[in-house]
């Protein structure tokens, strides 16, 4: 039994050593070369400030080609999409992003549309309610004299009418 352990121990340690070497090689092995699709997946989320409103993946200028090369380089170094986007914002400003970051006045972009839609909905509901409820006020208003002068003229007219009827 003791003999078996003595030759098993070096074998086990050798296999652990081999495993370690293999895993280190896997980690530091040949760098991953990003495909065009991988580069474009990141580039499509970025905009070049030089050629405005054109996503980086379809922009044909030399500047954009250089930026795509930079994305490829960062991806091959193992950077994530978010890390690359942060790097581009630090280098070139918020304008490179497809959507403005939610800070400062940019919050208006995110807050105002839902608020306006909500306000519109409230106005619509109120308007529908007002249209559905039958009101007697307008009839009463029509019947009632609108001003004291009107009331006076009505009385005068009625008085004259009654007087003329009596005279007949």
């Amino acid at each position: 039994m003791k003999k078996r352990i003595t030759w098993l121990l070096p074998l086990l340690s050798l296999s652990f050593l081999l495993l370690g070497v293999v895993s280190v090689q896997a980690q530091s092995g040949t760098p991953h070369t990003p495909t065009d699709d991988e580069v474009n997946a990141v580039a499509s989320q970025l905009y070049c400030p030089v050629c405005e409103n054109i996503p980086l993946d379809v922009c044909g200028t030399q500047a954009c080609a250089q930026w795509r090369d930079l994305i490829r380089e960062k991806l091959s170094e193992g950077w994530t999409t978010e890390e690359i986007k942060t790097y581009f914002v630090e280098q070139y400003g918020d304008r490179v992003l497809a959507t403005p970051p939610p800070r400062g006045l940019n919050w208006l972009v995110y807050v105002l549309p839902p608020l306006l839609i909500l306000a519109g909905a409230v106005i619509l509901v109120q308007a529908f309610r007002a249209w559905k409820t039958p009101t007697e006020e307008p009839l009463e208003a029509e019947m009632a004299p609108s001003t004291p002068e009107a009331a006076f003229s009505d009385d005068e007219y009625i008085a004259r009418l009654e007087e003329e009827l009596k005279n007949r």
């Binding site: 500047a63 630090e90 280098q91 304008r95 009463e140 009385d155």
Partner: protein
């Protein structure tokens, strides 16, 4: 029929005139708030549009202070350069017209450097560092250059493109703006010389 007929006789109907003004005042407060909010929004949009529509800095205007971190890692504050004429050139490696004036700018820098009265600064606009450094090596550019981090400097000057060159006088005011490339070394000298007198 008399005018008294128009007055509602019942108690329920008599209560309505009190409820109506309350409802109306609530509605008018709502509309007031809505219009107030709309006015504030329009004012904000107006301010933002005004900022974006403003053209380049005008000659005679004080130049906004900035910090340029050079490719070598040095920090240059414009405020520290008061008393000197500053030639601030915006460029990019992908910009062909920039290449037309690059050699003349370097020649001008070498001409004025011994006097110590003129400082040349290059601001690399939306460029990638390897290409920018290759460009500098190609034209043997020796004056301080650095990236326009976050495009803050170019936004401060509200540039429209590259190349653009701004001359800041000894008092820190904009003395000259060159939109597009300089034609020659003589052209560069002709705009710097009046500021040295």
């Amino acid at each position: 029929m008399t005018s008294q007929d128009a007055v509602p006789p019942s108690g329920e109907s008599a209560a309505k005139p009190n409820a109506e003004p309350q409802k109306k005042s609530r509605i008018s407060v709502g509309w007031g708030l809505a219009f107030g909010g709309l006015l504030v929004l329009l004012a904000l949009i107006g301010l933002m549009l005004r900022r974006t529509q403003e053209g380049p800095i005008r000659v005679g205007d004080p130049v906004p202070d900035f910090v340029l971190t050079t490719f070598d890692g040095d920090e240059i504050h414009l405020a520290d350069l008061q008393g000197k004429v500053v030639v601030l050139n915006f460029w990019a490696s992908w910009c062909s017209p920039c290449a037309q004036e690059a050699a003349d700018l370097e020649a001008a820098w070498r001409y004025y450097q011994p006097g110590g009265e003129v400082v040349f600064l290059g601001v690399n606009y939306v460029d990638t560092e390897p290409e920018a450094k290759a460009y500098m090596a190609q034209f043997d550019i020796t004056y301080p250059n650095g990236p326009d981090l976050g495009t803050r400097i170019s936004q401060g000057f509200r540039i429209r493109g590259v190349p653009e060159t701004y001359l800041v006088d000894k008092e820190g005011k904009l003395a000259y703006a060159q939109i597009g490339p300089f034609r020659s070394l003589q052209h560069i000298k002709s705009v710097i010389e009046p500021l040295l007198k």
